[in-house]
Amino acid sequence: MGQVLCQIDGIMKLKSIFVSCSLALAIAGACHARTWTSADGKSTFEGDFVSATDTKVTVKRSNKDMTFDISRLSTEDQSFIKEEVEKADAAAKAKEESEKLKESKIPKALAGKLVKLDSSGKKYEKFELADGIVPKYYLVYFSASW
């Protein structure tokens, strides 16, 4: 997963990568294991954030999910959990809106009819709005080489 985040090779791929990362963040919470600290600051452990409710957090440690009270963690970890939950909620909301937008007139009219230059800038390849977050607005640019 870390490789996905680290292999951004140009602005042309940013949107689709954003979608991948949003989903990845929603699922795993972070790309690398986090060091968690107990509320009293005396002990730490490594693990990946999985999910959280208002009072409980689930962390994956050595491929095993552990669920415990958020209050057992440091203030910093509690803030981190809150941010991760907000990110996951935002990603889920964006995905839901995107699904609805797919059925709108402009995205439907453009489906299967778009291309985009590849990263070399020399070859056109198929492009689908539906592969990323479907936009709310479209700036249609009419122009010609002459």
């Binding site: 009819k113 291309v115 479209y138 640019y141």
Partner: protein, 94 residues
């Protein structure tokens, strides 16, 4: 291009779609490749066949039209992109 990279490429709420008015595919592609256009482009053979898009074309090129996902025109101008940029800024400010 600079505007696209700074204001559109990273904005998930909007995408620029290029509708070429070139009369042949070669001219369209040569220009795009020379300038390394980063935006989605309507296939040459489809460019004049998508009613939802062709009906938006302002009189004259370059032309800029901002629409929502249902095709409602929010701003349109031939010759200058400023009105469209201003409207987009207003819509996407947060």
């Amino acid at each position: 291009m600079e505007y696209y990279n700074s204001d559109i490429a990273k904005n998930n709420d909007v995408e620029l779609i290029w509708a070429s008015a070139d009369s042949d595919e070669g001219s369209m592609e040569d220009w795009a490749k020379k300038e390394k256009f980063p935006w989605p482009t309507i296939k040459f053979k489809s460019a004049r066949k998508i009613d939802e898009i062709t009906k938006l074309a302002p009189r004259g090129v370059p032309g800029y039209v901002l629409v929502d996902a249902e095709g409602n025109v929010l701003a349109s101008q031939a010759g200058s992109s400023q009105p469209v940029k201003d409207k987009l800024k207003e819509l996407t400010k947060s």
